[in-house]
């Protein structure tokens, strides 16, 4: 082989280098050049826990993926090693409870279900955060502006006046409907539950593969109960009647009957086992006329790669119930601090929480994010007024921003679900009752009475 002839290996090497170089340069550039200025204006020592390592459990969802992408910025800012672990939503509650109860400290913080704070607080598994918020060496309140975080979500994470988790991303449930189908029949978004049913009836045409409506059917405290709770409250139900848990009674029966009736008559049969992604998928294929679920599902029905209904979607607040009320969900993924950690790691965890929940990071994971998936659940009231962000959100369809904001401000109800340590058991029992009624295994009354009978012994003490 003559020296001038390039060998196959050298060609491959050069080729690989040429391909890899821009990527390497870009990533190095991104890390060096990420502007940490907005963070450094906070009057705290970001590097006070340098050298610590923390692990954060999150769910595989785009709003957390965006945060994961920014992890190098946090590491550069604080010198704290940050590792993420992704756990599917169906398992994250159990995994974190097992970690907390064993005091192993595997997860310094995790994406927490707001309904679990009562349980966490009763067992002293997580730290009350007011101390961290007041400590001037840890938090620059003027910079962090905790009061700017959506009040409904903060109150959902507060037990006995103490905040236990800082909301990172959240949602409300709203009506999502097909503007084109509604207009063709001269219908309007439902103002009350009755109108919601009549709209569904008017558009229900399964022979042409359009079903009138769909709600979550799959059993679970965070699935069918998530939607049922709003209906229950709109029918005038009260979870803690006279301080005592009550899941049955005339209001509960009426609410469950309304839900079962709608699902049986106007939803696809399979919806009985559907969670929100299934509903949003079906809607984006044009087979569902309307549904009520999280406003964040708008990103699924507007996915340009999969959706066939882009430009045909509009939104509205929950329909009113017989009690005259609208009740939306107050869901958020928040970050608590694991009480089993050593002091220095608690500080490192708090720095992470402050970084993730501050306005700058919220913006960088939303409208300022470089990737395709933008967040629709930012935790800052101020961001919801930011023109760049609002412009981005308006792209999801008619009335999206208005319906979301009005729901967030007017339709939330702190007693939407019973906030007691026994919630996991209550949620699961009610979820089973709802599904029993939906499947025809029992009548609404029998299923709810049975749930009440099972729950009573759990509420002693």
């Amino acid at each position: 082989m003559s020296p001038v002839t390039p060998s196959r290996r050298s060609v491959l090497q050069a080729g690989l280098a040429a391909v890899a170089a821009p990527a390497l340069i870009r990533s190095a550039f991104a890390q060096d050049a990420a502007d940490l200025g907005p963070y450094k204006s906070a009057k705290i020592d970001w590097r006070q826990a340098a050298g610590e390592s923390i692990t954060v459990a999150v769910i595989p969802a785009s709003y957390f993926d965006n945060l994961v992408t920014l992890a190098p910025q946090f590491e550069a800012l604080t010198g704290v090693n940050l590792r993420f672990e992704k756990i599917p939503p169906a398992q994250i509650r159990q995994k974190s409870v097992i970690d907390l109860t064993s005091k192993a400290g595997a997860y310094s913080t995790h994406a927490a279900d707001p309904m679990y704070y009562a349980l966490y607080a009763a067992n002293k598994w997580v730290e009350p955060l007011d101390g961290y918020l007041k400590d001037a060496s840890l938090t620059d309140a003027a910079w962090f502006q905790p009061d700017d975080i959506v009040p409904a979500w903060r109150s959902a994470n507060t037990i006995d006046g103490k905040l236990y988790g800082v909301p990172y991303d959240g949602e409300v449930t709203i009506q999502v409907y097909r503007k084109d189908l509604y207009e063709a029949k001269g219908l309007k978004a439902a103002d009350d539950l009755q109108a919601f049913v009549s709209n569904a009836a008017a558009l229900h045409d399964p022979n042409n593969r359009v079903w009138g409506a769909a709600l979550r059917g799959v059993a679970g405290a965070g699935q069918n109960v998530y939607i049922y709770s709003s209906i229950f409250r709109e029918f005038g139900g009260d979870w803690m009647k006279g301080g005592k848990l009550q899941v049955n009674g005339p209001e509960a029966e009426a609410a469950l009957n309304w839900y079962v009736d709608l699902m049986r008559k106007y939803a696809p049969q399979a919806a009985q086992n559907w969670n929100w992604p299934d509903i949003a998928d079906a809607f984006s294929q044009g087979t569902i006329a309307t549904y009520i679920d999280a406003h964040s599902s708008a990103s699924v029905v507007n996915n340009p790669e999969k959706s066939k209904v882009i430009g045909k979607v509009a939104y509205a607040r929950w329909p009113k119930g017989p009690s005259g009320k609208r009740t939306t969900s107050i869901w958020n993924w928040g970050f608590p601090i694991n009480a089993a950690l050593p002091e220095k790691r608690k500080k490192a965890t708090w720095l992470f929480i402050q970084w993730a929940a501050c306005a700058e990071t919220q913006a960088r994971t939303a409208h300022k994010f470089a990737g395709p998936a933008k967040r629709s659940g930012v935790n800052r009231v101020s961001l919801w007024k930011d023109s760049d962000y609002v412009k981005l959100m308006k792209g999801f369809g008619d009335n999206f921003v208005e319906a979301t904001l009005e729901s967030l401000q007017q339709d939330t109800d702190v007693d939407w679900r019973p906030r007691v340590p026994q919630w996991p058991a209550i949620g699961d029992t009610v979820a089973t009752a709802i599904q029993q009624a939906l499947a025809g295994q029992a009548t609404a009354k029998a299923a709810l009475d049975e749930a009440q009978r099972r729950l009573e012994p759990m509420m002693r003490g």
């Binding site: 409870v97 799959v218 699961d428 599904q435 029993q436 499947a439 025809g440 029992a442």
Partner: protein, 314 residues
């Protein structure tokens, strides 16, 4: 001290002396210690991962331990078991477990045996058939559950639903109707595990002596007669073994049902194992959940004890 006792002590002393003097015995002792040292790690690991958790489970079942009410925790004696006997959902889940176990085991043995007899007579393609048949067994039950749930049984989209519509039976909500859901999980378990029964029975069938069948042919026995009078009795030990093994597995099944129905709709497919899981890890009532698990253990032991006794009896 009486005479015989004294004699005993003396004999012991003499034996000890003798032992000390005997090199072979010394070697034997060393070897035994060496063997024990080799065995110890595995034995300790086994104790730590199986025996200890089991004892801990039983211990826990005597306590009131509820993560959502930590202030009520304490020794409960037999309270959990008393509660269990009065719990209709326990009895219901036990009933579902029984139906599930009995029907899957019977179906596996009958279908497995029929397939074995059929394939045994095949001259060509036996190897291929065996290989295809074994495929479901090597799949993880969770994967099997997901495939059936989303690909086979989904109304409007699933393969089974399509076949049912084509056959004029109409579309059904296979996992949404209480009875159909139970039938579905039974069919799934049978689909996955029949090949196991089939393989065992086929191997036993191949080991049966030809001369008996030859004698039967000479006596002009019909095919049914030789199956009934020769094959079945000779296969009996294998069949009983299959029944015992499959019963124990079916009673403690979990993953496939968990992924397909999660015990639903309502509680229609909630076997005892699933109820214990839900009590412990969803409702966080660890004490009562442990009692349910112990009840399942006792039940499994009793059933397999009965089966083993039947096997010995004849």
């Amino acid at each position: 001290m009486n005479k015989s006792a004294v004699a005993g002590v003396v004999a012991q002393g003499r034996r000890a002396l003798h032992r000390r003097a005997d090199p072979a015995r010394i070697m034997e002792g060393r070897e035994r210690r060496f063997a024990a040292a080799l065995l110890a790690p595995a034995f300790l690991a086994l104790m730590a991962t199986t025996t200890f958790p089991l004892l801990f489970l039983i211990w826990t079942s005597f306590y009131r331990m509820n993560l959502s009410m930590p202030f009520m925790d304490g020794f409960a004696g037999l309270d959990n078991y008393r509660e269990l006997l009065a719990d209709p959902r326990f009895w219901q889940s036990l009933g579902v477990s029984l139906v599930y176990t009995a029907s899957t085991v019977v179906l596996q043995v009958v279908i497995g045996l029929a397939l074995a007899v059929l394939v045994h007579g095949m001259r060509r393609g036996q190897g291929l058939f065996r290989m295809v048949a074994i495929l479901p067994v090597v799949l993880s039950p969770a994967v099997v559950g997901m495939v059936w749930r989303s690909f086979m049984l989904a109304p409007d989209f699933g393969v089974v639903d399509y076949l049912a519509v084509t056959a004029g039976l109409g579309s059904h909500n296979w996992l949404g109707d209480p009875t159909l859901a139970l039938v579905s999980v039974i069919v799934i378990h049978t689909w996955q595990w029949t090949p196991f029964a089939f393989m065992v029975l086929l191997a036993s069938l191949a080991a049966l002596p030809d001369d008996i069948y030859e004698a039967a042919r000479i006596d002009r026995a019909s095919a049914w007669q030789s199956f009934r009078r020769i094959t079945l009795p000779l296969l009996r030990p294998a069949i009983v073994m299959v029944i015992i093994m499959r019963t124990m597995v079916a009673l403690t099944a979990f993953a496939a049902i968990f992924t397909v129905t999660g015990g639903g709709p309502g509680t229609a497919t909630e076997i005892l194992n699933l109820y214990a899981y839900r009590k412990s890890f969803t409702e966080l009532s660890i004490g009562y959940g442990s009692a349910l698990a112990v009840a399942l253990l006792v039940f499994t032991l009793v059933v397999s004890g009965v089966l083993f006794a039947l096997r010995r009896a004849k």
